[in-house]
């Protein structure tokens, strides 16, 4: 069951909401509605659902409605229409008390400019969510301390936020959100105010935390790189509408429309595409059952001069060249194990194109993609160069 379900969620800013809503239902565009009624369409009939434990990224250009959408999810902004179901309960119908309870227990928010209280210490900031629930000081500070230790700030409990660097401040913001132990984290451009290196660290840390804590995270960003690194799925917004939802691969490889395509165009492919996108199906021979004759025959069939070797359990063992195989045949050697060579470079299926490029460059033999000791694919130099050049015929056959 999805943890968050959003149906036709709409927000119109302005006075003439009724008329704007009518125009919207008639299919008028954001610009037309602004001209006719003076109302701004913040979010236009957004629908999506998020699975527990998922990192759901919402991406779009400035003004596309990302911040509005995420604030609708905890009703910091009141929706004009539509439903917000959190664990099956409709947030949009809740009264003040129920809403406050949901905010306290189900979801926490991390802010772009950190949103820390400058007059409170790091510890008091992190404990704020429990403090407003009137939880005893000792207990809430214990929990806040644990959250702060988790983000590596165990030694800064009694500093004021102003004394910390940007990256550290956002860790406090993250710790404050984690102290409540909510199911859902809402993060509005949480890393956008940080400089690139720190930003990358924070992304890694978030992924680490996620792998141990299994929160559901709604992450807003306007940066495609960040979206691709973090997102299990990505929703792309334009003019308040969600124009595509999909895995990072979907978005990159099958852009739903011109808008998405243009968004994706400027992405540095070398950082995003990984081994699995460009690898080819490898030809292999079982060295436990086959001899040089079989190996040579397979190579002749496929028109290649080298074949990869696996054993009975399909573990990767190396490769056999055509030369060695015919030599062996002449000498009467029947066991392929005697002529297997192992001087081949291996990469992981998640190795980026960037890294593969330099490996392929100084390896005479094609690079293999190995996962759990199994041979998954082979990467030839041409494929790397082709992918870097922006050819989109990347292979997904091993998926």
């Amino acid at each position: 069951m999805p943890i968050i379900e959003v149906e036709n969620l709409t927000k119109i800013f302005g006075k003439n909401v009724k008329q704007a809503m009518k125009l919207l239902n008639e299919g008028a565009s954001k610009d037309e509605i602004l001209k006719e009624t003076g109302c701004t369409v913040g979010v236009n009939k957004a629908s999506f659902s998020v699975k527990p434990g998922e990192i759901f990224v919402i991406m779009g250009l400035s003004g596309s409605g990302k911040s509005t959408l995420v604030r609708l999810l905890n009703r910091l902004i009141e929706p004009t229409s539509g439903k917000i179901l959190i664990e099956g309960e409709d947030l949009s119908q809740m009264d003040k008390n129920a809403l406050r309870q949901a905010r306290r227990e189900k979801m926490s928010m991390v802010f772009q400019q950190f949103g820390l209280f400058p007059h409170r210490t790091v510890l008091e900031n992190a404990a704020y969510g429990l403090e407003v629930q009137n939880i005893a000081k000792e207990e809430r500070e214990e929990k806040a301390k644990r959250a702060l230790e988790l983000v590596g700030l165990g030694n800064y409990l009694h500093q004021k936020p102003g004394q910390l660097s940007g990256g550290m401040q956002q860790r406090v913001g993250l710790a404050r959100a984690l102290t409540n132990d909510p199911k859902v984290l809402l993060m509005d451009e949480a890393f956008s105010a940080l400089d690139p290196l720190i930003r990358k660290d924070m992304q890694d840390e978030l992924l680490d935390l996620q792998s141990t804590m299994q929160k559901t995270i709604i992450f807003i960003t306007h940066d495609l790189d960040e979206a691709l690194r973090l997102g299990d799925r990505i929703a792309l917004m334009k003019d308040g509408q969600i124009v595509q939802i999909g895995t990072p691969e979907d978005i990159l490889v099958n852009p739903a429309n011109e808008y998405v395509e243009r968004f994706v165009e400027d992405i540095d492919r070398s950082k995003v595409l990984t081994a699995q996108h460009i690898m080819k199906r490898p030809e292999s021979v079982n060295i436990d059952t086959s001899g040089p004759r079989v190996a040579l025959e397979r190579m002749r069939e496929a028109g290649i001069s080298l074949i990869f070797a696996v054993d009975n359990a399909r573990n990767f063992k190396g490769y056999i060249s055509a030369e060695d195989a015919s030599d062996a045949l002449k000498k009467g050697i029947t066991n392929l194990k005697e002529i297997v060579k192992n001087d081949v470079r291996r990469v992981d299926k998640d190795t980026t194109l960037n890294d593969i490029f330099s490996i392929v460059h100084d390896s005479p033999v094609p690079v293999v993609v190995v996962e759990n000791n199994r041979l998954r694919g082979v990467i030839v130099r041409g494929a790397v160069i082709g992918a870097l050049a922006g050819e989109s015929e990347v292979s997904m056959e091993n998926e």
Partner: protein, 284 residues
């Protein structure tokens, strides 16, 4: 042309005001009378039996110590306080000073106690803001001694009407700055308070007021200075203090006495101003 202007006969604003004030005096006499007696007694007690019972030497020392710490362990203000207060004592103005301090202190405390809640109200409600803002403008632009007339009607003469007039004159900055301070709290912080499930009161006391404090204190500082500036005016209706000497000197064209009392007011103003500003700065 003149005919056109006088087409409408004179509107009896003055009469109407008289009547309203009379009516209020009559109706609320049961409140005003005890206030002027008990409150008046209290202030006299505070000035005569409390402040004046403290030996001037000790008082000067206490103020100097306070000044030293409030100004961040610097000697400037402390030394100024010692010399200034001694000069007032030397000029035989000590009792007047104590009356003035009482007047300013009480008017300021009341202004703050009443003004801050109003400031909070208009920061939260745009309707209240629309209604109260022009009233504040009116209160500040009306010449101060106009307030003396209803003050006398309500409370007779003495310190109580003086406090009442000072209160009306001095309260606007506290209200305005409280409103401003709360409205200036960064949006993300208000959102953070809401997003973590604060109640309205929790948000106010844990986030908004602490964030607004420096701004509110700037308003309080102005309020105290305005209250002090009402001292001379209040003496017109019989409030004792430094102002009374200024006034009587004026009536007798006695430049010397007027100057001495005036100097006393200036010294007091400087000390109070630096003390309230310093108290604000220290918290940053």
């Amino acid at each position: 042309m003149n005919k056109l202007l006088s087409f409408i006969p004179e509107i009896p604003i003055a009469d109407a005001t008289d009547k309203v004030v009379d009516k209020i005096t009559e109706i609320f006499a049961f409140i005003f009378d005890p206030i002027s007696t008990h409150f008046g007694n209290f202030m006299e007690f505070f000035a005569e039996d409390f402040l004046m019972s403290i030996p001037p030497f000790i008082m000067i020392l206490l103020v100097a110590i306070l000044a030293f710490f409030v100004s961040g362990r610097k000697f400037g203000l402390a030394i100024f306080s010692i010399i200034g207060l001694w000069l007032i004592y030397n000029q035989d103005q000590w009792e007047n000073l104590m009356y003035t301090v009482t007047l300013v202190l009480i008017a300021s405390i009341l202004s703050i106690v009443i003004g801050i809640p109003f400031g909070i109200l208009i920061s939260k409600s745009n309707l209240a803001n629309i209604i109260i803002k022009p009233i504040l403008d009116f209160m500040q632009t009306m010449p101060a001694f106009v307030y003396l007339i209803p003050a006398v009607a309500f409370f007779g003469i003495g310190m109580v009407p003086g406090v009442f007039a000072s209160l009306i004159f001095a309260i606007p900055p506290t209200v305005r700055f409280t409103n401003l301070g709360i409205r200036q709290v960064p949006r993300e912080l208000v959102e953070a308070a809401d997003a973590f499930g604060s109640t309205g009161a929790q948000k106010l006391f844990k986030v908004e007021l602490p964030m607004a404090k420096p701004t509110i204190m700037a308003g309080v500082n102005q309020t105290v200075m305005l209250a002090l500036s009402m001292v001379v005016t209040a003496s017109m209706i019989g409030a004792p203090g430094l102002g009374r000497d200024v006034l009587s000197a004026l009536q007798r064209a006695d430049v010397g006495t007027g100057f001495v009392a005036g100097i006393g007011i200036v010294i007091l103003a400087i000390i109070i101003d630096r003390l309230t500003q310093g108290a604000n700065r220290k918290k940053d």
